[in-house]
């Protein structure tokens, strides 16, 4: 099986309302992605959110390289999560985790 190329994206989730945890954020991105691109795309995306700081709203999104642009478009269209209004901002993308901190 061909090894999947991954991408890492440093992001900032701006919010207007109560805190949002990583599970809520991850579910919201998956739901938006599912609505726009369908079940197969969600399955192939291998979305994972790590190092998420609930207070700051910053974290690192990991996914399959081919799904990256579609995932970020889906995240950009999210307006609210559990009643909290949000605005998703991708900050930097890299092929390695180390590349994000350089």
């Amino acid at each position: 099986m061909r090894r999947m190329r991954r991408r890492y994206v440093l992001f900032h989730l701006h919010r207007d309302g109560p805190l949002i945890n990583v599970y809520q954020l991850s579910a919201a991105i998956r739901k938006s992605f599912l609505s726009l691109f369908g079940e197969v795309s969600v399955a192939d995306s291998r979305l994972f959110i790590g190092q998420y700081d609930t207070d700051e709203g910053t974290g690192i999104l990991q996914c399959n390289a081919e799904s990256l642009d579609k995932l970020l478009a889906s995240a950009a269209l999210i307006t609210s999560i559990e009643g909290t209004k949000v605005s998703f901002q991708p900050r930097r993308a890299s092929g390695t985790l180390k590349g994000l901190t350089r």
């Binding site: 609505s35 726009l36 642009d69 478009a73 950009a76 307006t79 605005s87």
Partner: protein, 228 residues
Amino acid sequence: MPVDLNVRVPSSNRLADFTGMAGRLGLTGFATSLSLGSPVTRTNEGMVLLTRADITGKGLESVKKQLARVRRRAAIVAVPLSDIEVSNWAAEDSRVDLLAIVELSKEYIIHESTAKLAAETGIALEIPIAPLLETSGLDRSKVLKVYRESVATATSAGMNVVLSSCASEPILMRAPSAVWHIGILLGMDKQHSRETVYQVPDRILSLSERKRSSESITPGIEIVREDE
């Protein structure tokens, strides 16, 4: 310079909220319909605020009258796409900066003839992203259909496209890095989408500045010396 060319600030006492959000999102400026005193204002934080005029009203005569009145007072002049007569007339008038999609019905999308005229005049097509944020599912697919067709028509005619938030609340504004990903949903490739966010607004603003100068008559024709 990433600039949002359409932010709907409801009143001047909310301006600071929008300016703060724009700064956090990485925007260098935005255009609003609020009366700011001059077409271009710079805040203490370095944010560029632009006066925008949306030409409303039905019929060609009404549009012509308003256009003559607002051009020198506004940094951005937008004409909503309406019937073909008004749209084609606006597409040929160099005082206009943007042709904006405001209604999602078949009659109000951009036609090939309008796009060709606008491309020659240097007028860009404005796509508001607010309707994409306000809808979901089948309703959003209808918005996407209109937008994708409009982008394809404009692009094939050589007309510039610009993506604006049309945000009525600060949290509805989107970062430039988020907006160009939305552009990909509208059928643009990566390079084109990035250009619509990072370069096209700049081009529109520099062209608009020339249009506002008292020496400018029409693109290519300027008064360089008046006879005494």
